[in-house]
């Protein structure tokens, strides 16, 4: 039954002390066979299952997750959403995503708290200025709302920023007003609920141990709940994609590293946009609860430890305090790390591979959250039609053979 959320359901349920809300999704045992298996129950994986069921009419789909929904990078990111990427290929992909974000709460009838508060990408030196101005122009040509703003305009947007009296003064920025943030857990839950309603089996606490293949075709997955047969398997496992791919004998150009983030104690509203700086490496936004959400860089070595080095946080905090002296005495509440899979060109892989029926959605590296709906949407198309959508065709794994890379190290905004 379709679960509708509205002011009336809130009132009705409050009368019974909120004890009678229905479960958002079932907790089924796995069947023996599925038409499509998605490995990984984060935003991208659940979204893929949702679009497969909704837009491509597939009925027999499973999402297999080793832990709980959205417990990986979907719940660990800094929730920034934007589409101001340099190259046409990326601009189309991230803009497709941003357009889906704009309608996602109403499509899912679930409040994902998408807030288009804009994003500033700061320039601190001549090279930054040139690079960002070029990117603004490229964005405009792709119909993306990006503009160049000077320090005076930045001061109006973010009065607390120290633009002059610092080691790396702020010389300008790109500004995308349609960018913003969303509640990351709600994205996973919203997709999960609606996918479940369309008949998708969401199987949690079930680890995929091996992707079984024979004669160049995928046979299914061996899991902690037994073997599950399927002719089509989509792997959406972020940092652990290399490990899973290796079980099918596939090598992907990915390196897994720890990326950290931290939040402060909650304070009154003080910064109402997202500010990112590539050069001094500090980015910050303020959550609706009032916490500053701060993203650090990746550690300089491969790791699966989900924690990261303290020196990386120290660098970020140093930059934050210089840019915003007002934050100097604040206390940080929590810090965590997630394992991100980074490609050589900082662009994702949304692709078939040499094994028939095996698909990969990976390589999002340090910035996958913003792409969740778009990535899920075109990946579902790729699996359903066994052919890339025109938006994700340039993101084939074959680009590392042809040499047609989509180099987005500049727009990725996180040092790695």
């Amino acid at each position: 039954m379709k679960k509708k959320y509205s002011i009336f359901s809130l009132v009705k349920n409050s009368l019974s002390d909120n004890q009678n809300w229905k479960k958002m999704w079932r907790n089924p045992d796995p069947r023996k066979f599925y038409d499509v298996i998605i490995v990984g129950g984060g935003g991208h994986g659940l979204g893929t299952a949702y679009y497969l069921a909704k837009e491509h009419g597939l009925k027999n789909i499973a999402v297999i997750e080793k832990g709980w929904l959205g417990g990986g990078n979907t719940g660990r990111n800094t929730t920034i959403i934007r589409s101001n990427y340099l190259w046409d290929e990326s601009a189309h992909l991230y803009e497709h995503s941003l357009k889906l974000w704009e309608n996602l709460s109403s499509e899912l009838n679930y409040n994902i708290m998408f807030s288009q508060r804009g994003v500033l990408n700061l320039a601190h030196n001549e090279h930054d200025v040139k690079e960002i101005r070029r990117r603004v122009s490229a964005n405009k040509l792709n119909g993306i709302d990006s503009e160049w703003v000077d320090p005076n305009q930045i001061k109006k947007l973010v009065p607390i920023m120290n633009t002059e009296n610092c080691r790396y003064p702020v010389l300008g920025a790109s500004y995308q007003p349609r960018a913003g943030v969303a509640r990351h857990d709600a994205v996973a839950w919203g997709y999960a609920m609606r996918a479940d309603e369309l008949g998708v089996d969401i199987i949690q606490n079930c680890e995929v141990k091996k992707i079984r293949t024979a004669k160049g075709k995928v046979q299914g997955v061996e899991t902690s709940k037994g073997f599950i047969r399927s002719n089509r398997v989509g792997v959406v496992a972020s940092g652990h994609t290399s490990v899973l791919a290796a079980t099918a004998g596939i090598k992907l150009p990915l390196q897994s590293k720890a990326l950290q983030a931290l939040v402060s104690e909650p304070i009154k509203p003080v910064i109402n946009t997202v500010v990112m700086s590539n050069a001094v490496h500090a980015y910050v936004s303020q959550s609706d609860k009032g916490e500053l959400v701060i993203g650090a860089g990746t550690d300089g070595y491969n790791s699966y430890t989900q924690r990261g080095g303290y020196n990386i946080i120290e660098d970020t905090i140093r930059a934050i305090v210089e840019l915003y002296p007002i934050f100097g005495k604040m206390k940080m509440l929590r810090q965590w790390g997630g394992i991100v899979d980074i490609t050589p060109d900082a662009s994702p892989i949304l692709s078939k591979c040499e094994v028939e029926g095996l698909y990969f959605n990976c390589g999002w590296g340090t910035g996958g959250f913003k792409a969740t709906p778009g990535s899920a949407n075109v990946f579902a198309h790729t699996i359903a039609k066994n052919k890339a959508h025109k938006i994700n065709a340039p993101f084939s794994v074959d680009r590392f053979v042809s040499g047609r890379l989509v180099d987005e190290h500049g727009a990725a905004a996180v040092a790695h």
């Binding site: 080793k66 680890e207 995929v208 141990k209 091996k210 902690s224 496992a237 652990h240 290399s242 490990v243 899973l244 290796a246 079980t247 090598k251 992907l252 150009p253 990915l254 390196q255 897994s256 300089g300 070595y301 491969n302 790791s303 699966y304 430890t305 989900q306 924690r307 990261g308 080095g309 303290y310 020196n311 965590w336 790390g337 050589p344 590392f400 053979v401 042809s402 040499g403």
Partner: protein, 117 residues
């Protein structure tokens, strides 16, 4: 965050070092003979295991010398450090603590620090 025993300077904080990625990647012997796919493997594809990993480090803020290390990427425990040019220790010398592909080892997994039982 961890410390690394530089074979020239001794034990120092990891932040003094820079990582050089996978160790022992050999350049193709006859580059003019190999095809694009083989070039792609050499240029772009590097090992990315969860578990035992052979890698290079350089003591950037110290002696500036390069050396190799064997590290468990699921715990960040450094198991062995050896100089450039020395024969890499065989894989069987190390106990891989990873039980399943994405599974966690007995100690030092996830958000917990490495500790000896």
């Amino acid at each position: 965050m961890f410390t690394i025993r530089c074979p020239y300077c001794g034990e120092r904080d990891q932040s003094e070092f820079s990582n050089g990625g996978e160790a022992h990647v050999a350049r193709p012997k006859d580059p003019e003979q190999i095809n694009d796919r083989e070039w792609s493997e050499y240029v772009f594809i590097r090992a990315n295991p969860k578990g035992i990993y052979y890698e290079r480090w350089v003591h950037t803020h110290g002696c500036k010398k390069w050396f190799n290390a064997v590290r468990n990427t699921s715990t960040d425990e450094i198991l062995k450090v050896y100089k450039m040019g020395e024969t890499p220790p065989p894989l069987k010398e190390f106990k891989n603590t990873i039980k399943t592909p994405s599974g966690e080892p007995d100690v030092g997994s996830g958000n917990f620090s490495v500790k000896k039982p």
